[in-house]
């Protein structure tokens, strides 16, 4: 039986990962995600989990060791943040190309410089195009649930792709809050043992990570892309299964008070619940506002988005990241592309907020929504706005 517990979310993430019985954990400390591997090493040290914990000398080696372990046929797990994720970057794309279902928790943090250990989404967004499945948790419960779901999704025979679960650094990682923690029996029932596509076995020697010449590289890419796009179907199935077993519902885009909404706000990660409070207040004031919370970032839920924005006049997209020199934040770029071909589509406004740990409050969301509402009739001058920046 699941138990209602209070726990720091990073530790809960480690507990959830441990319930999935990873066999190899390779991780390197980095703020704000260090508590995840720390707690896992404790769990291993106590003998609660039979796993090899590799104290690698860098994140590059963490991801490499996970790749090796996965190639050997072992379920592998790591966790990182920010610069650590970027140090892994070389290996990330290879892991998905090799179809190694590694699971990683990312405690999202800004990129240096200036050196900043606080939350935004620049780390994962810089690694957007690496072929991983990417999910965003909004609170402790979603962190626990998505961590367990991630293994099942990654290792599904029709997927076999790595998955990263994103939780906002500090905003989530360092917060003690209540959540339901499944027990071992429940997780064992949900998550079958790992069966790799091919493992390093002397009785059946395989070659993993071969050279692909120009005559096959494009075909390999297409095969990988189709698998990633098709994984959405599997994710939806697994989420359905999760709902049946644990009673908590997951959707690629969660809608909050969107019935009859003229202005929609879109968020990712921990801001979602604070934004709900803004919607509540606005609705009370008579403003027809609603909220879309994106949980599945890759594969991007195109159809779900098109459906979710139907009837809205304005969509205010918030990004905790900026694509420097581009047309705004990565989420807004994606949303604009996804809706471009629609005959009837809302006006899109993009706010860059919460960079490097800048606090985003209920009042900020209310202000953004109120101002965005005018975009229906009065086109904004800029493609995006650095919200709340001084000067």
């Amino acid at each position: 039986m699941s138990k209602r517990i209070g726990m720091e979310i990073a530790l809960a993430a480690a507990e959830a990962a441990a319930l999935c019985r990873p066999e190899v954990i390779a991780a390197y400390p980095i703020t704000p995600n260090t508590h995840v591997p720390e707690h896992l090493s404790e769990i291993v040290a106590e003998g609660r989990l039979d796993a090899e914990f590799i104290t690698v000398e860098s994140e590059h080696s963490a991801m490499s060791a996970c790749a090796g372990a996965s190639g050997a046929g072992a379920r592998s797990f790591t966790a990182t943040s920010s610069q650590g994720l970027l140090y892994m970057a070389e290996i990330l794309a290879i892991v998905s190309a090799m179809r190694l279902p590694v699971v990683m928790i990312i405690g999202n943090r800004a990129l240096s410089g200036p050196l900043n250990i606080w939350n935004d989404h620049s780390d994962i967004m810089s690694q957007r195009d690496i072929g991983w499945i990417s999910m965003f948790a909004a609170n402790g419960q979603e962190t626990v649930d998505m961590t367990i779901q991630a293994f099942k999704i990654a290792e599904h025979q029709d997927v076999m792709l790595p998955v990263n679960v994103n939780l906002d650094g500090f905003q989530l990682t360092h917060v003690v809050e209540p959540m339901f923690m499944p027990d071992q029996e429940e997780v064992d029932r949900f998550l079958p043992p790992f069966k790799p596509l091919a493992a390093l076995d002397p009785d059946h020697p395989v070659t993993l990570g071969a050279l692909g010449l120009p005559d096959i590289y494009a075909e390999a890419c297409k095969s990988r892309e189709v698998t990633l796009l098709n994984s959405k179907k599997v994710i939806l199935e697994i989420w359905k299964e999760w709902e049946q077993q644990f009673g908590r519902k997951y959707e690629p885009i969660e809608s909050y008070k969107t019935e009859g909404a003229e202005v929609l706000l879109m968020t990712m990660g921990s801001m979602g619940e604070t934004a709900e409070m803004a919607i509540d207040e606005l609705r009370q004031e008579g403003v027809k506002a609603g909220l879309l919370k994106l949980k599945l970032w890759r594969p991007f839920p195109f159809e779900e988005l098109q459906k979710a924005v139907k009837g809205a006049k304005v969509l205010a997209v918030t990004d905790r990241c900026l694509s420097y020199g581009g047309a705004g934040g990565p989420l807004a770029l994606e949303v604009r592309s996804a809706l471009y071909a629609q005959k009837k589509r809302p006006a899109i406004v993009n706010y860059i907020i919460g960079l490097g740990g800048r606090d985003v409050m209920v009042d900020h969301f209310k202000d953004m929504i109120s101002r965005a509402a005018k975009a229906d009739t009065e086109k904004p001058k800029e493609a995006y706005e650095f919200y709340g920046v001084r000067g």
Binding site: E23, V24, A26, D50, A51, E52, I54, T55, V56, E57, S58, H60, S61, A62, S64, A65, C66, A67, G68, A69, S70, G71, A72, G73, A74, S76, E90, I91, I94, V95, M98, A199, L200, D201, P202, D203, H204, P205, V206, T207, L208, G209, A210, L211, G212, L213, I216, A220
Partner: protein
């Protein structure tokens, strides 16, 4: 040239080659250059390792020439991820196999994890991952196939390039005599990690090399072999002289063969009583052609100095097992 006899006297057994494992784990059809010493060294290493082995390969010549999808030269389970991380990937493989075996998910027999890489992937870009893996004490063998430059990308200098060698990034010119630095002493760096077994080897002494691989394989813990692998393309020598060139490197002391077991240095039996002049070795290679007699003299002096240092270690080192 006096290269014939030394081949025979190695390990005092004329017919030793006939006794090695006839199975080829590194199959023909690989696309290494004609006369590639590294391909030969890998072939020999695999024979010494045998079937119950997993190979983790760094990016480099050997990876490129052996695994052109959809084919592979490998008959051993083999994995390649990237250039700098062979040792880290091997750490993961080793840990994975260990835990799966412990949990009864794979058959309960000993499978050795072996990381391999060229000199670039070992002494330069892969050094951090290798240092970490060795320091953590994984049960794995790492073999560096040192051909003394980045041959895969077209002969750029690496930390293992010897003094004076001409490379495409250390060319001789009006104010340059090729590579200005001394070859990085990678085996010594590994010795400093307190590994139970470190050895140098060369494909030109196949039985010696294979025995070292077998010894390393038998050690439950980290071990390291640094294997000089002649690259006729990069060294600019004749392909047929590949084996002879390796022997000259050893006989001149430019690349001495030795083992370090639990800290105790031991010169390999194939080493000559007295070293041959360095010139015998370098004058046969195009990469040293531009060196002046003065520069060769300097090179020779340094080789002697390093060799004497090594001989001192032979005399004074002790095995920590004896303590």
């Amino acid at each position: 040239m006096n290269t014939f006899q030394s081949g025979i006297v190695e390990n005092f057994d004329l017919y030793a080659p006939k006794l090695v494992d006839k199975e080829e784990y590194f199959a023909a059809g690989h696309r290494a250059c004609q006369g590639c010493g590294e391909a030969l060294a890998i072939r020999l290493m695999c024979k010494a390792l045998g079937k119950d082995t997993v190979i983790v390969n760094a990016t480099g010549c050997m990876e490129v020439v052996s695994t052109m999808y959809p084919t592979t030269a490998w008959k051993l389970p083999w994995m390649h991820v990237a250039f700098p991380n062979a040792a880290a990937v091997a750490s993961g493989v080793e840990a994975g196999l260990k835990v799966l075996r412990r949990k009864g998910k794979i058959s309960d027999r000993y499978v050795k994890t072996v990381g391999i890489g060229g000199d670039g992937g070992t002494v330069d870009i892969g050094l951090q991952a290798l240092s970490g893996a060795m320091e953590r004490g994984h049960d794995m063998l790492y073999v560096c196939f040192d051909n003394e430059a980045y041959m895969n990308t077209g002969i750029q200098r690496s930390g293992a390039t010897p003094f004076g060698a001409s490379t495409t990034t250390a060319p001789p010119g009006k104010v340059s005599s090729g590579n200005p630095t001394w070859k990085k002493n990678m085996p010594e760096i590994m010795v400093a990690h307190n590994l139970p077994y470190v050895a140098t080897a060369c494909h030109s002494y196949p039985i010696d090399f294979m025995n070292k691989v077998k010894k390393a394989r038998s050690i439950k813990g980290p071990s390291y072999i640094h294997c000089l692998s002649v690259c006729p393309t990069g060294w600019r020598c004749r392909t047929r002289e590949c084996i002879a060139m390796g022997r000259l490197a050893v006989q001149t002391g430019a690349f001495p063969l030795y083992e370090v077991e639990h800290g105790k240095y031991k010169l390999s039996s194939v080493m000559p009583e007295t070293l041959r002049p360095l010139e015998d070795y370098i004058r046969l290679q195009g990469r040293f052609r531009h060196l002046t007699p003065d520069e060769i003299g300097m090179f020779q002096k340094r080789v002697k100095l390093e060799y004497n240092k090594l001989m001192n270690k032979m005399k004074h080192s002790r095995s920590w097992r004896e303590m």
